[in-house]
């Protein structure tokens, strides 16, 4: 048995998710979606428990986690920022918007700010091309984003009480 760094309640949670899918390894992607929803990300420890419960290897689980861009092994910020870099957004200036976010937050794509507040990633097309360029903060969609909007968007997430 591999020593676990995560709490017993977390292990129980993962077991519950796996049971929901009958511990079927064919449901690995659905299990990982649920686990990521529950934990925010998929660290090695979580992957180990998933592998054990689905009766598959850690290599198999890790292979899937690292293959799909939706899964992450590092925690995202409380407000994950996603910039659409689909073609429609690209030709309407998404790259400049992305650079503006990078500059203001002083992080690169795939990173999280030191206070864990924002993380920055790019994604491919949310299908709202009429609003290009599009930025998502969590599930909220911002359309026709200009360089001036970037600071305004960040300001919306000013926290009065530290979380």
């Amino acid at each position: 048995m591999i020593p676990m760094k995560i709490s017993e309640t977390s292990v129980a949670k993962i077991e519950e998710i796996c049971r929901e899918f009958d511990n079927d390894k064919g449901e690995l992607i659905n299990v990982l979606h649920k686990a990521q929803n529950a934990f925010g990300y998929l660290p090695e420890e979580v992957q180990k428990v998933v592998a054990q419960n689905l009766n598959t290897s850690l290599a198999q689980v890790y292979g899937v986690v690292s293959f799909y861009s939706f899964f992450t092994m590092v925690p995202k910020g409380r407000y994950p920022i996603n910039i659409c870099m689909g073609t429609a957004c690209y030709v309407r200036g998404a790259e400049r918007v992305l650079n503006e976010f990078k500059g203001l937050l002083k992080i690169k794509v795939g990173e999280t700010t030191k206070d864990d507040k924002f993380s920055l990633s790019s994604l491919r097309c949310v299908g709202a091309c009429g609003l290009a360029p599009v930025v998502l903060v969590g599930e909220k969609v911002y359309g026709r984003v200009t360089l001036d909007n970037v600071q305004e968007i960040l300001d919306e997430y000013k926290e009065t009480v530290p979380v």
Partner: protein, 598 residues
Amino acid sequence: MDTKYRMHLLVCGGTGCIASKSSQLIQLLKEELEANGLEKEVQVISTGCFGFCEKGPIVKVLPDNTFYTQLKPEDAKEIVAEHVIKGRYIERLLYVNPETQEIIRDAKNMGFYRKQMRIALRNCGFINPENIDEYIARNGYSAIAKCLTEMTPSEVIDEVKKSGMRGRGGGGFPTGLKWEITSKSISDQKYVVCNADEGDPGAFMDRSVLEGDPHSVIEAMAICGYCIGANKGIVYIRAEYPLAIKRLKIALQQAKEYGLLGENIFGTDFEFTIDIKYGAGAFVCGEETALIHSMEGLRGEPTIKPPFPSVSGYLTQPTNVNNVETFASIPVIILKGSEWFASIGTEYSKGTKVFALAGKINNVGLIEVPMGTTLREVIFEIGGGIKDGKKFKAVQTGGPSGGCLTEKHLDLPIDFDSLTAAGSMMGSGGMIVMDEDDCMVAMAKFYLEFTVEESCGKCAPCRIGNKRLHEMLTKLCEANGVEEDLDLLRNLSVVVKDTSLCGLGQTSPNPILSTMENFYEEYHAHVFDHKCPSGQCQSFRRYYIDAEHCIGCMVCARNCPTNAITGVKKQVHIINQLICIKCGVCMEKCKFDSIYLN
């Protein structure tokens, strides 16, 4: 539509319009109607996408067909007070033809809709997708009823074959033939899979169909199951489409409650159920073998065909994979007949095709036109021409697998074969329009960046070849290109195309090959003239200070992030080109317009 109401307000509830606050608008319209005691006379319906995303949120009033555009939640009061109560049109909210400045009230008369013919999108923007009764009222589920009670599976397959329907996901494989092959595979268990992993950036027709008319897909999947002898269906959908997933789940639940899914459908012994599997953000999973591996919980890597999925697919059983738009068209073919469908379109491409117009075009949105419509009609009549009066340069069709078509292709009738012959492809129907400001070399680089990121890494030509191609394009865009790069770029593109395992690698060099074919002068300019004709590639920019106008105020020097500007107060400053990073801050900050670009 419920006839007990005298008027209906159809409000777009697609992803795009919701982002522009259409849900608040719906809420306020309902409150306003209630406040005036009209909630029993006028019904507010949240529909799927109208297609005219550029002007969203949209409200269409029935029965008079008035089309209000770009609404804000606060317009609700006026719509109820003026239009609903007094029957007066609100002119300021109507669509204005950008060319003639003419106000158009009726959607039928708008250039955007006039040339369209909606088959796959027939219900999008008309019905409430969360209410199965509205789908049924528009002949929903009568196609499956007809198949189960009046036709044998092979008669249905014949009908689909005769219609000439070809797969709308990109490959254009004849749908009826695919069904026939799967039906002939012998097995106890077969599967119907709906490919809703719409990964092509800039295409959003599958999302719109699932958000606006999910039952049409469910019905068609059941018809397919009946034909091929499958009792299980699976929709493989991108996790990036939460609203489409939600509406699909509601629709599946309702279909089950109505006995349209499950056992003994329409009193026959036909049984069919549908499950959902989620994608996790991998473009290659649009390829059917990769998609099947992903459904099995594995990495989405493609395998060599044959065996085709119709022989050995999901869990090694015969599997029929079709795209959302293909399925959405099937019920209509059954009801109206193959002859009717085959009368639309061109010789080898029948029916209509949905295109997602995006980029530098006035009317961004989702359109459906008969095959054979020309690019000019699509871009200039339906799309309303190029944004800000700029000049049309190219249109990219088929996404990262397609190519750039130019002015000389504008009168090309669009169908599967004509696009391929012109060096592009139909793909899933994305159309990105570019204007004179877009650099074609940078565009090719953008697409290769996408392919490099999305290549699954299984085969070497795609994994390594695309990376090298991307490096060469980066070199060109960063002003370091040499003559040999151009030959190498072309040769390697051909090698990657010829030797890659699956459709992703076999088409990924298309953006390079087609731009080299149609815009060679731009590649030439990047290497030999050391300039980017459109001005997009920053590395070619040179900022200079105009000695006549510079008063030596030092503002530019102070703001330069790399201290590339030197000079003393009240004397002309100089930019050191070796340190300059071409950010343009100096030009922005100079109050005397004394900094210029080469």
